[in-house]
Symmetry: C2
DNA sequence: ATACTTGTTAGTACCTGGTTATAATAGCTG
DNA sequence: CAGCTATTATAACCAGGTACTAACAAGTAT
């Protein structure tokens, strides 16, 4: 009888911790009582598990959420770069991904609002410029077709020229949903060539 | 002795209710204990007051905030129109105001990120078109000078032409900080002329 | 076999921030 | 004076925990 009996219901600790994490993750309002039922262990075990995993009690979780949403300088999804940059060759090209979610669409039609698609492209155009400060000067953009809820937008940026004593760069950005082009933009980016302070620009990007 | 004695500290009920309301309003995380101290009445009175005013207990307040911020379709400040529309003459012109706050700037420099200024202009260009659905087709934009934290951006939109069987409109938008122009954009907006479904556009606007 | 360790469960005391109900008191009013 | 409102007090109870102590089962080491 060296074999583990393991009632079907009962998971090993590791897996239980995983499950507990994801349960709380997709319902932060769950009580220990409910977790007890779902995990088929005692409430003490649930509490020890939370302790081990550093998961605070229900009320603390709610308080944290409330405080975060009350924070006036909360980091909007617009904070640094719109979209996830998956490839970046400075001064040459870059790729970013951006998934269209509920909060990006016009609720009545499910069509993404233009400035989100623009923001992704603009962010990428600025990011691809290898400089301390990069500011969008002008942009010529075209929304080729609408992008809908749930679609994944792939933006590809190409640096076309570095002119004017390295103070300007032209960047072209094409955004796709699968193979279809949905957006095209031509950006003129000012850069801080050395310590030159530039007038008439917007946006910035860090280099690290 | 018909005169009310009224200790300086103690307010009449009405005023206390007002004060209580505003205290909770600008610090939703305040407990009855703290209210007791600030209002100089017993905790029972505080609780009776909350009862009368229909203000839930601290934990309920936090829960409501947490739930609201957890709501997947939460109305971000990006939801409908960026900026406050202060004047709108459909198919002719419009004005909107937008104040640059912490969350709109690049933290290192305090310079507004381009897509916010674009978003204001784009929203206004779409809003000024008198139609059920209006979608940005193309835009030619220019960031004339950077906009900084705390500045108020005034966008003015003018409908320049209504062409192509009422299916396209050209809208020009100029954004100013005081008298200085900071942004200029030329938008081509597709509209749903009757029931025509348009391809290759973005964004929408309601009419009510 | 015995001791030690880990995992789990149980039980108790205590905490915060309240609710609900009941009663006592003060002060004014008709 | 009775009747009313406003306020305060007191006590029981609740949810959803924390903190601690104890007990037991199973596996591992000695």
């Amino acid at each position: 009888m060296a074999k583990v009996v393991r009632t079907i219901e009962r998971l090993p600790k590791r897996e239980r911790h995983q499950l507990l994490g994801s349960l709380i993750d997709d319902n932060p309002f769950i009580t220990d009582q409910e977790l007890t039922r779902q995990l088929k262990v005692s409430i003490q075990t649930v509490r020890l598990d939370r302790l081990e995993l550093g998961i605070p009690e229900l009320r603390e979780r709610m308080k944290l959420m409330a405080e975060r949403s009350y924070d006036p300088v909360r980091s909007l999804p617009l904070d640094e770069v719109i979209g996830d940059i998956v490839d970046l060759q400075l001064d040459h090209s870059g790729i970013s991904l951006f998934e269209i979610k509920e909060e990006h669409v016009f609720s009545r039609t499910g069509i993404a609002r233009g400035h989100h698609v623009f923001a992704q492209a603009n962010s990428l155009a600025v990011a691809v410029i290898n400089d301390e400060i990069a500011l969008t000067a002008t942009a010529d953009i075209r929304f080729v077709r609408q992008v809908k809820l749930g679609e994944k937008c792939i933006a590809k940026a190409y640096v076309r020229s570095i002119s004017g004593g390295r103070s300007k760069a032209k960047v072209e950005v094409f955004s796709y949903v699968s193979d279809e082009m949905v957006f095209q933009g031509s950006f003129l980016i000012y850069r801080s060539a050395g310590e030159t302070v530039i007038e008439g620009g917007m946006d910035g990007a860090d280099r690290n």
